[in-house]
């Protein structure tokens, strides 16, 4: 178990190092523009999976938590010119609280009611922001980027590295939860909540924990958005596409292991970026839909599930009769 741990952290450090080197070496801004989006989805997909994959409670309101994170940054920038780190930390706390609150109101009910409630949360917060003039209301708000911090020569590149750090952080959190008794309890809840209760699994507490952590990570992913875009408006920030993608990516990659959402996000995110640039930006939504349906029907265990099946087929073929 310890060897696996070392391998993970070595890999994580290497990934960050690679991101930094790329930021210092590659000139074409587009790669970082697109790469930021892919990494953002790694965080969102990983965050979603903590509640949706591990516990089986499907959240349709990722856009709400993401949007709350983004608008927390807007408020902090406008009011205090707060540095990025403060924006991210505050966004995580507020979105975490939102997760906790949503959970408290709905997690006493079984799965499907929670899912319906999360749709409502997204709509509620979008409406709130639309009516809040301080953050620009429906028109949105334009923000000036502060001077870039050395050694990066562009703000986008710096944000790319920040998002890489967030991605590694999110995956580390998911990995820790998955291997701990918390993860065991969440898996029990997913498989049979009643049985879990009988065995003394504190189901409500664990669900609230997962909801809070998931929300916090989604908020953290949203925090750098205003600076990334220099312009934020509610319709695109609270967009359903974030909710759908955050759900589709873990399903495509595989929901039972932290690697699944990463694979799904990198794969789907990259395909979406390519389609947006080469064919059309409308079509990229179609891509998500088609892949999602395909995987749910043909490979509900996702890519990781397919790999596992291949492995077991191969090993049983090799084993002596």
């Amino acid at each position: 178990m310890k060897r696996g741990g070392t391998a993970f952290w070595v890999g994580a450090v290497l990934a960050i190092a690679l991101a930094v080197l790329a930021a210092l070496g590659i000139q074409n801004e587009y790669y970082f523009f697109a790469g930021y989006v892919v990494l953002q989805f790694v965080v969102l997909a990983t965050a979603w999976n903590i509640l949706g994959g591990y516990a089986g409670y499907v959240n349709f309101g990722t856009g709400a938590f993401f949007g709350v994170g983004a608008y927390t940054s807007v408020v902090l920038i406008q009011a205090l010119h707060a540095p990025l780190l403060v924006q991210i930390a505050t966004a995580a706390v507020l979105s975490g609280l939102l997760g906790f609150g949503t959970g408290l109101l709905t997690l006493r009910l079984r799965g499907i009611f929670f899912s319906i409630a999360t749709v409502a949360v997204a709509i509620i917060f979008e409406t709130l922001i639309i009516n809040w003039r301080y953050v620009g209301g429906a028109t949105g708000v334009q923000l000036l980027r502060p001077p870039v911090i050395a050694p990066f020569d562009s703000y986008t590149k710096m944000l790319f590295v920040v998002m890489a750090l967030l991605a590694v952080g999110a995956v580390a959190v998911a990995r820790y939860i998955e291997a701990s008794w918390i993860g065991r309890g969440l898996r029990a809840i997913r498989d049979s909540e009643v049985a879990a209760e009988c065995n003394g699994v504190p189901t409500l507490r664990l669900k609230l924990f997962a909801c809070t952590v998931s929300g916090a990570l989604m908020g953290a992913a949203g925090a750098p958005l205003p600076m990334y875009m220099s312009f934020v408006e509610p319709a695109s920030t609270f967009n359903l596409s974030y909710s759908v993608s955050a759900l589709a990516m873990p399903i495509i990659g595989g929901t039972s292991h932290w690697l699944g959402p990463v694979i799904g996000a990198v794969l789907l995110g990259t395909v979406q970026q390519v389609v947006t640039v080469t064919i059309s930006s409308e079509l990229n939504v179609l891509v998500v839909g088609v892949l999602l349906v395909l995987f749910v029907v043909v490979a509900p265990g996702g890519i990781l599930g397919l790999v596992a099946k291949l492995r077991s087929a191969r090993s049983s073929a090799r084993a002596p009769a």
């Binding site: 898996r187 498989d191 009643v194 065995n199």
Partner: protein
């Protein structure tokens, strides 16, 4: 160390449906008590009340243990399990997509039981060799009898002092029912347990019981202070044999 579970005038239900009416019973240390009743008469509801999964609207449930007197009606299920009460639920309620071993590990979820996980797992495998052979098999793919065994073993993983068994005979062949009930008695003796067993199969339940109650439409209609008293009661004959 006097262990006693007292239920006094408990009323409980699901929304507008009243399932229990002024139910009182007692469980004393070292006893095997049978709770006899046919389908839909409140046995499972009572078990759930004892485990904190259903809140009684009236009445008291008190556990006297280690010198303390605790109100179970106000506690969370996880706290009740930590105290030393375990339930083998109706219909087994296993984790079908998890392996036998993962099911057993989850039985020891409470922090107090985690430290003894390995020891208790070894105990379980010693007493249930069938489970040991199938430790990596998915629980949902086991046969009915194996599943019942797993459900009981899982309940024992928390090293309980009181074991609530809810209708262990459901879905099992007569031979397996006999075997399962005998196993419960053996485990009770071997692990120094106190057992409350809800059953429809009156004959099998009375076979291992020290005494018992009969529940009809959510009310305790008879208390048998010995197994014989239970068996010879008119109600048992009419309910069980239809005479």
């Amino acid at each position: 160390m006097a262990l006693k579970l007292s239920v006094r005038n408990v009323e409980a239900g699901y929304g507008a449906v009243r399932a229990l009416h002024r139910v009182s019973l007692e469980l004393k240390q070292g006893e095997t008590v049978a709770l006899l009743g046919t389908n839909g008469n409140g046995k499972s509801t009572l078990m759930k009340c004892l485990m904190g999964m259903v809140r009684p609207t009236r009445g008291e449930i008190t556990l006297d243990i280690d010198g303390r007197s605790l109100d179970l009606a106000r506690m969370q299920t996880e706290e009740i399990v930590s105290l030393g009460m375990a339930m083998v639920p109706e219909g087994r309620r296993l984790f079908p997509k998890l392996t036998v071993e993962e099911n057993l590990q989850l039985g020891a979820f409470r922090p107090v039981a985690r430290g003894k996980l390995v020891k208790n797992l070894d105990f379980c495998y010693e007493n249930f060799s069938v489970l040991k052979d199938r430790r990596r098999q998915l629980a949902g793919s086991l046969s009915g009898g194996q599943q019942q065994m797993l459900a009981i073993a899982r309940a024992l993983m928390s090293a309980p002092r009181i074991l609530l068994v809810d209708e262990p005979s459901v879905g099992l062949s007569p031979l397996l029912v006999h075997h399962t009930v005998s196993m419960i008695q053996q485990l009770k003796d071997g692990f120094d347990l106190t057992v409350l067993m809800a059953e429809q199969n009156f004959q099998q339940a009375i076979r291992i019981a020290d005494r018992g109650y009969i529940i009809v439409h959510g009310e305790i209609v008879f208390e048998g202070r010995t197994a014989d008293e239970l068996w010879n009661n008119e109600l048992v004959r009419s309910l069980y044999l239809g005479g």
